[in-house]
């Protein structure tokens, strides 16, 4: 499998256009870096990547479980290999998705990689998501193995917990990179749009998050067994569905399965996974009965259950909204859709409650909490939350948005709760072992990586949700049409359009603007947002071709800890296009009258003449685009300006959460020693 990937990469890097996948997704002019990554922009390439990653992950899982669960492992291996066979079989027999398919006629140059995808986050985003999806296979396979062999204690979940966490980490990275890309590249200024493809990535993540929590309950208390296997099966099915959705076009276009040759196979696989697992779970039901019952509502396990229900409810809402076009078509015959506000309305309250429980969960003990214990652990966080609420109400406008206020208040509660618990753990350690407070914190954290890693993740998610709440509730969005030297004021920022810029590189015309941004009378930043018009490679080369290809935005962004200033521009290229049309006509006439006859007379001149012509055309292009910056024309430009508070918190929060999960999954000294013995 890995050899196949290497072979494909080699073909991409050496411009071997006889391979269909290379011809369609790369070109000579595509930068090397992007040639490398173009592999997974195609359906063939992503399937190959899936299969290759699966083989790596499967081998790793066998390595880590080689001394454990000898009866379950063979079945788990069979499940993983079955999936590998599916993907390999699909590539070879699935029709049209063989990554090594050849083209009938080898073109001189490829079609190129879509410029929108030529962005650093887009390079790592797909493999991250795929690694996440694929890592999910391991706990899934072991769950199935455990069901088949009737070994339904927590052993399967325990020995694959690392893989579940790794899947979580990679999915998180993938999702956050995707939204970062959307924020900086797509030119609309948002980081989340409830697009079906985004939803497809977040659904397995939600269920996986629930699973990671609820397996702890099974481990500690022997409960929720059916629930856990159901969660991992659901999560894995959703991951498959995600891969399928992204690739099939079911929801993107209404040509349901027409676009993709692999759609039906994928659906069949998903059906097998769901039906097979459901049958296994039902036939093993008597074995899966809980060993204990929940003692009290105020116990950690019941909070975990609530958190599970919230996460699953979130997923159900997202699932429903994503598939509503299909559902409504089934029920009423007309295809109806749900827009972003619908998602916001139902996910916001659920997310706010989750913020609360990320703090409450760690505070409660297993089994039961006494009234005395409750007073001890809740006093400080509640006090902090009350103070935070008062401060917010008095000193800020946070009360304008009920949900944002709720998030901020609950976030302070949660942070206080996490800090208090860490502090008490460290203080206890310090009392027995001495040393500094920081040292004690580090010591307890390293000793109990899972718990404190979890705290870090919770902290990160709270920071992220605060960022989401602030930026979505208190964002100012303005579209301003400015001429050079004009100024507009947006939410305390004075924005001056200094001058237009224009340039040309190998692939595109770049129209830009120099913007001076002042805040409270002080120079904040000079921004250079641009819009790139990529030359359309499909047709005869012309200057107009720049306006017929893709256009991408490079936004101007001044990110700050508390406020982001974001600007994208929409230049008026009418004048340049008009000049380009005239030039193209002259050019075509010259071709007909002079160049073509010359080539007919002496065909050996064709190459040299073409090169010369391209040079002339480029010179003409350079001349024409100068119109744009000519002060005489002073073309107005539409700027979309967004001032959005605390967007940076989203990226920081995600980073904290991902590092926290990595900390939790990192093998501790203790377990390493155990492995040796």
């Amino acid at each position: 499998m890995l050899i196949c990937v290497v072979a494909i990469e080699y073909a991409f890097l050496t411009d071997d256009f006889s391979l269909s996948v290379v011809a369609n997704h790369s070109s000579i002019e595509t930068p090397n870096f992007y040639k490398f990554t173009a592999t997974w922009s195609s359906q063939e390439g992503s399937l190959l990547l899936w299969a290759a990653l699966l083989s790596v992950v499967a081998s790793a899982s066998l390595r880590f479980t080689r001394h454990k669960m000898r009866d379950v492992v063979p079945w788990a291996t069979a499940v993983m290999m079955g999936l590998a066979v599916f993907f390999t079989g699909l590539m070879i027999f699935g029709g049209g998705v063989n990554p090594f398919a050849l083209v009938a006629e080898v073109p001189a140059d490829g079609a190129g990689l879509n410029p929108l995808l030529q962005h650093p986050s887009m390079i790592i985003h797909p493999p991250m998501l795929y690694t996440g999806y694929v890592s999910l296979t391991v706990p899934f396979a072991f769950a199935i193995g455990a069901l088949i062999t009737r070994r339904v204690d927590a052993a399967w979940a325990k020995s694959t917990r690392g893989f579940a966490l790794i899947a979580w980490i990679f999915l998180s990275i993938g999702i956050i990179l995707g939204s970062r890309w959307s924020y900086t590249e797509l030119g609309w200024g948002g980081y989340w749009a409830w697009d079906p493809v985004e939803n497809a990535s977040v659904m397995p993540w939600l269920i996986l998050t629930a699973y990671i929590h609820s397996i702890m309950v099974q481990e500690k208390r022997g409960m929720l067994k059916v629930w856990n296997v159901s969660l991992i099966v659901t999560s894995f099915s959703l991951a498959l569905l995600g891969t399928f959705l992204v690739r099939s076009g079911v929801l993107q276009s209404i040509h349901a399965f027409g676009d993709s040759t692999v759609g039906p196979y994928f659906l069949a696989l998903i059906a097998i996974v769901i039906v097979g697992s459901a049958w296994l779970i039902i036939s093993r039901l008597p074995l899966l009965r809980s060993e204990k019952r929940i003692d009290s509502l105020a116990s950690r396990e019941s909070i975990f259950l609530v958190n599970n229900l919230l996460l699953v409810a979130l997923c159900v809402v997202v699932f429903w909204g994503t598939f509503f076009p299909l559902i409504s078509e089934l029920i009423t015959g007309t295809r109806s859709t749900l827009a972003a506000p619908w998602f916001d309305r139902y996910t916001t309250p659920l997310a706010v409650m989750l913020v609360l429980f990320t703090g409450v969960g760690p505070l409660l003990a297993w089994r039961r909490l006494s009234w005395e214990g409750a007073k001890r652990v809740f006093a400080l966080p509640l006090a902090v939350a009350a103070v935070a609420l008062a401060v917010l109400l008095v000193f800020t406008d946070a009360s304008d948005s009920f949900w944002a206020l709720a998030v901020f208040t609950l976030a302070s509660f949660t942070v206080a709760a996490l800090a208090q618990d860490t502090w008490r753990g460290a203080a206890a350690r310090r009392a027995s072992a001495g040393g500094s407070i920081a040292g004690s914190i580090a010591a307890v954290a390293v000793r109990n990586r899972r718990r404190y890693g979890g705290y870090i993740v919770h902290l990160g998610l709270v920071v992220l949700l605060v960022g989401v709440a602030a930026s979505s509730s208190f964002e100012t969005k303005v579209d301003a049409k400015l001429k050079p030297a004009e100024t507009t004021t947006v939410n305390g920022y004075d924005v001056t359009y200094v001058e237009p810029t224009v340039a040309r590189d190998d692939q595109a015309l770049i129209f830009g603007a120099v913007l001076q941004v002042d805040h409270d009378g002080q120079r904040l930043e000079t921004l250079y947002p641009t819009r790139r018009y990529h030359l359309n490679t499909g047709t005869t080369r012309s200057i107009r071709g720049y306006f017929e290809g893709e256009a991408t935005s490079e936004v101007g962004l001044k990110a700050g800890l508390f406020s982001d200033f974001w600007v994208a521009l929409e230049p008026d290229t009418g004048l340049v296009q008009k000049r380009a049309r005239v030039a193209d006509q002259r050019f075509a006439a010259y071709m007909r009258q002079k160049v073509l006859p010359a080539i007919q007379r002496d065909p050996s001149q064709a190459g040299a003449l073409t090169k010369q012509l391209i040079k002339v055309q480029d010179l003409a292009t350079d001349e024409i685009i100068q119109e744009y910056v000519d002060p005489v024309n002073a073309t107005p430009v539409t700027f979309r300006i967004i001032v959005s508070p605390m967007v940076t918190w989203i990226w920081i929060g995600a980073l904290i959460a991902i590092l926290g999960a990595a900390f939790a999954v990192w093998p501790s000294g203790g377990s390493r020693r155990k492995k040796v013995s």
């Binding site: 797509l186 030119g187 993107q252 276009s253 209404i254 619908w342 579209d479």
Partner: protein, 121 residues
């Protein structure tokens, strides 16, 4: 009990989503549209119909197979891939005069994840 609660919530979800949803229509299916009701227009941008306006863009949308056509007026952010011949999705309503008035910032240009049409077979 838990099952009952789940069922009630699910029913609620079904109910509110049907209320909040807007029907997806292609231009030729908008003939009998009720003015003022929210629809989701899907279709292809007619070649050469795009005209920039003060705060947005006017264009025509036809069915995916080329039939039918409706003038569209839209204000707000224009997605990067917006172009002649592209498939779009737009929320909005039909005016008395038969034009489609797009809601601000709801224009979506399709194929954000299907970035390539095959050129070489």
């Amino acid at each position: 009990m838990a099952l009952g609660v789940a069922l009630a919530l699910a029913t609620g979800l079904v109910y509110v989503s049907f209320n909040a949803s807007s029907e997806a229509r292609e231009p030729s299916e908008l003939q009998d549209a009720i003015p003022g009701k929210s629809y989701e227009l899907t279709g292809k941008v007619v070649h050469g119909s795009i005209e920039r306006t003060e705060n947005g863009v006017d264009f025509k949308v036809s069915d995916r197979d080329g039939g039918g056509s409706i003038p569209v007026s839209y204000e707000g952010v224009i997605p990067d891939p917006f172009r002649d011949g592209r498939e779009i999705v737009l929320q909005g309503s039909v005016s008395e005069t038969g034009g489609f008035m797009g809601d601000t910032d709801t224009l979506v240009t399709k194929c954000p994840s299907k970035f390539s049409e095959k050129k070489y077979q």
